[in-house]
Symmetry: C2
Subunit: 233 residues, 2 copies
DNA sequence: TAGCAAATGAACGAATTCGTACAAACCGGT
DNA sequence: ACCGGTTTGTACGAATTCGTTCATTTGCTA
């Protein structure tokens, strides 16, 4: 809709009372909280407007309609999360330690990104109807698989990772554990108790996540080196 | 205001008889589809009524209100699923094989219970607010953990399972993999492609699920017996 | 300073949608 | 056959809630 932006406008710091970008960001932050909490159908535009510094009129001015706002929030949530993930530098570490870090980091990161997880939950309820309209989402997420693939290759060449493991399946596994731990905390906790969701248990589960992944990926030999054979505890 | 009498209907015995249970079941089946597809806020009572053999009036007669219907559907979904799971007989198998079956079965079972998974997704969006009102839900699900605990004990006594593994964490792991495979199929597929969701790949993932669990639970020794040391493929 | 276009605010309209009032039909026992 | 309570159908009311209309304010330029 809006054509190019001309940088000559409002560059003087502090003088611009109008700040469309800040308003947009404000709306999206409020909207993310609302949608993450109540879903797309459950989220109320009036509620979002009330919690915003601006008014409902602006939501429609900037985002067109409710779905447009939801889409913008969804895409932004993915962008933020993947940017944070990209800060992990695995190339400096040897494969085994790098994999351990990747698993533990992903687990911890998901744990701290509850509203992102909830947006993904909601989008899956909608069968990905809105994500499928996004053109950028592939580019945003592809690097994640690339990093896993590079790491896997290094480990295989070093003879410590099993050749059967594929990047996609490995990513799938790490995601599953890290995601489920957040997405299903409520129902799981209600049925089996909240024992797993104390702070100390969560930290332990982060280690267990890495442990599960390592035991799955490592060759029998490499695993033997890591965990000397002792059947008892 | 159509006063006339219609004695022409209901001649066949059993067709037009009163059958409250069948009506209830009919409503709940339709409601499960509707809620699983569109969520609680997104689900429409009128839509459910239209697809039912009976009318909207009956929904309120039997279930009180929309939330009551949702609760009934949710509880019933859990009941059905757990009943099916209980049909697995693990006691006849040796621990390792039993664990493999448990993992593979759970994976396959979740895969075939999409609407149940979606109900759980929706309930987690609501932070378990409705499940927490259910009194029976604990009793329905507790046996699941009991079976896992018994199996773990047997394996530990036989010296093939690691002592560090707890029933809750093991159940958590198997659930995570099996659940995520269904719940996130759409977003994961849109981002990374549908390669994992062909029939053959899904069957393979079922085996991988068991493999992941076994490698996590088995002692180094037991694992070595199962997978003779060979670093290459 | 005046004027113009973009940005904003408040009130409103229209369409859904939940839930109910009322009335009619039905079944089983007496 | 009649009568009681139970089961069902229709129409409607009330409350939400999305999105818009219209007027106003604001920043920038001539």
């Amino acid at each position: 809709m809006d054509g190019g932006k001309d940088g000559t406008r409002g560059d003087v710091p502090g003088t611009r009372k109008r700040d469309p970008e800040a308003v947009r960001a404000d709306i999206m932050a409020v909207a993310e909280a609302e949608f993450a909490k109540n879903g797309l159908s459950g989220g109320r535009i009036d509620e979002i407007a009330a919690k915003t510094r601006t008014s409902k009129r602006m939501i429609y001015y900037y985002f067109g309609d409710k779905n447009g706002l939801y889409r913008a929030v969804l895409e932004e949530a993915y962008r933020k999360v993947r940017l944070e993930e990209a800060e992990l530098h695995l190339d400096d570490l040897e494969p085994i330690e790098a994999l351990r870090q990747l698993a533990a980091f992903t687990f911890e990161h998901h744990r701290r990104s509850e509203s992102f997880i909830r947006m993904v939950m909601i989008e899956n309820i909608h069968s990905g109807a809105f994500l499928s309209q996004s053109t950028s989402i592939g580019d945003v997420n592809r690097p994640a698989i690339g990093r896993v693939a590079a790491l896997l290759d290094r480990g295989k060449k070093a003879g410590v990772f099993r050749h059967e493991i594929t990047p996609l399946t490995l990513h799938w596994l790490i995601s599953a554990i890290s995601y489920f731990n957040v997405s299903n905390r409520h129902t799981f906790g209600l049925i089996f108790g909240d024992a797993l969701w104390t702070e100390t248990e969560q930290v332990r589960l982060g280690s267990e996540c890495a442990e599960i992944v390592l035991r799955y990926v490592l060759t029998t030999d490499a695993l033997g080196d890591l965990h000397p054979s002792c059947a008892d505890a």
